[in-house]
């Protein structure tokens, strides 16, 4: 009787087997719940650190966790690649934009001018103690001559110094061999602009009378005197003045309008007897030269005059420089 009762209380073999089958998975789940909800936070951190440096060390060495992991490194590399790609695209877009602007200016020059302009591509450039010199490749059919003026959309650049087949040697305004007869477009004062090495400004008009009216910011154009440069080509802007060493004369500093360093395509101004500026319908009293060349070389809205330069211009405007 007693043995029968014991047998009845003991679970059957199948039930035991079933319990054993579930014991292992359930204990695993209970273990995870214990880790997540019973274990204190610092103990969890310690356990994680222990696992990281013991059981999972191979994984840590090969792939890792967190910001120093392989995943994070890959994300970083991908991010850098995206940034590099964006930078490349941005650079290409900027280059295209600059090229586009440059071409528009060149086209605008061609449209605005009635003078015969023939283009040439700059292939070499030299700037040094001997002055600005560049070499341009000319592939046109027009016959070029020594001394022809060379212009860019911003203004006069120089003149042809030598011709060797298709290669044209151009001397810039900042060159000891080039002297330009210039005129203040506002006051009509005239002078000879020359390069003085080491001067504060690239070009100087020497021997200007102390009472002559040259003001800072004035546009200076070619006067047409002499046989080389036609009248009205924009040379530069008045930037300042210095007293000459002797006498009551002074020298006027000019900043060239055309940048020799940035010229990529230059134009040779062919002399054909026609006026080199476009005819402009104008009212009585208007200056034909100014109107024409303002149209040909519009005042650069971005012409930079720094505050210091403006200050100098104001000083210059205040009166003649006292002689030493």
């Amino acid at each position: 009787m007693r043995s029968v009762r014991l047998i009845a209380l003991r679970p059957s073999r199948a039930a035991t087997h079933r319990l054993r089958a579930w014991a292992s998975p359930v204990s695993a789940l209970v273990l995870t719940l214990f880790l997540g909800f019973v274990l204190p936070t610092n103990a969890r951190t310690s356990l994680a650190s222990f696992l990281e440096h013991s059981l999972f060390f191979p994984y840590r060495a090969a792939i890792g966790w967190g910001p120093r992991s392989l995943l994070a490194e890959r994300a970083l590399v991908a991010h850098e690649a995206v940034r590099a790609d964006a930078a490349t695209r941005e650079g290409a877009a900027r280059e295209t934009s600059a090229e586009n602007e440059h071409l528009r200016r060149l086209l605008g020059l061609g449209r605005r001018s009635e003078a015969r302009l023939v283009p040439a591509v700059v292939v070499a450039r030299g700037r040094g103690r001997l002055g600005d010199v560049l070499t341009a490749r000319y592939e046109g059919a027009e016959r070029l001559e020594l001394g022809l003026p060379v212009v860019v959309p911003e203004g006069l650049l120089g003149r042809i110094a030598a011709i060797d087949g298709q290669l044209i040697r151009v001397e810039g305004l900042a060159n000891p061999n080039v002297a330009v007869s210039v005129q203040d477009q506002r006051s009509r004062e005239e002078g000879i602009a020359k390069w003085i090495p080491g001067g504060r400004w690239p070009l100087w008009v020497q021997g200007a009378p102390s009472q002559a009216d040259w003001q800072g910011g004035d546009r200076v154009v070619t006067s047409g005197l002499g046989a080389v440069f036609p009248k009205g080509l924009l040379v530069g802007y008045v930037m300042g003045a210095q007293a000459e060493e002797m006498g009551r004369l002074r020298r006027i500093g000019l900043r060239p309008a055309a940048s020799f360093a940035r010229a990529e395509v230059v134009f040779f101004l062919l002399g054909d007897g026609k006026p080199t500026y476009p005819p402009v319908t104008r009212g009585p009293g208007a200056d034909p030269d100014e109107a024409g060349w303002t149209a040909l070389y519009p005042i650069d809205p971005e012409r930079e005059l720094s505050r210091l330069e403006m200050g100098e211009a104001e000083r210059f405007r205040s009166g003649p420089v006292p002689s030493p």
């Binding site: 998975p25 880790l35 994680a48």
Partner: protein
């Protein structure tokens, strides 16, 4: 011994894959879970016990990254191993559709367990997170893993896509 080493190698390769190219095929932040796939393969081939304990081990490996939530991935993958292992003994695991459904149920169990775990910990809104992450994640896992598994099976010269489970 050889089996254990092979399993370790497979786990390692899957971990590398999960850390490298799996994020590239993520859609809206949802990627297939190779660890659920690993648990699925093992649970189907070797049974519930293997599935549960392997899920626990791999889950702990994942949990180490976030000690604050230690046990979450372990619980989720162990639960997936339990569901898949239990289901594989009751159902016809040789049938690809049944196996696919089993994979989906296992993945859904794991994702749901994560959602519940996080909500108990006070992180996230359970219904929204379940709809946003759990369900799509499980679906993506169930859709992406069979072709991958089939490709691997063909690579190793096996005819079934569950790598010899049938």
């Amino acid at each position: 011994m050889l089996t254990a080493l092979r399993l370790l190698a497979v786990v390692f390769v899957l971990l590398v894959c999960q850390a490298t190219w799996i994020p590239r095929i993520a859609i809206a932040g949802i990627a297939p879970d190779l660890f659920v796939a690993l648990v699925f393969w093992i649970a189907v081939r070797r049974g519930m016990h293997w599935g549960v304990w392997l899920g626990l081990a791999v889950g702990l490996l994942l949990d180490v990254e976030q000690p604050q939530q230690l046990g979450m991935h372990a619980f989720a993958l162990a639960l997936a191993g339990l569901v898949i292992g239990r289901g594989s003994t009751q159902l016809d695991k040789g049938n690809p559709f049944v196996a696919g459904a089993l994979l989906f149920v296992g993945a859904l169990a794991a994702e749901s367990a994560r959602v519940v775990w996080l909500s108990v910990s006070g992180v996230g809104d359970p219904p929204l997170a379940w709809l946003r992450y759990a369900l799509p994640g499980a679906l993506y896992t169930a859709l992406a893993i069979p072709p991958l598994s089939l490709a691997l099976a063909r690579l190793f010269g096996r005819k079934d896509w569950i790598l010899g489970a049938a």
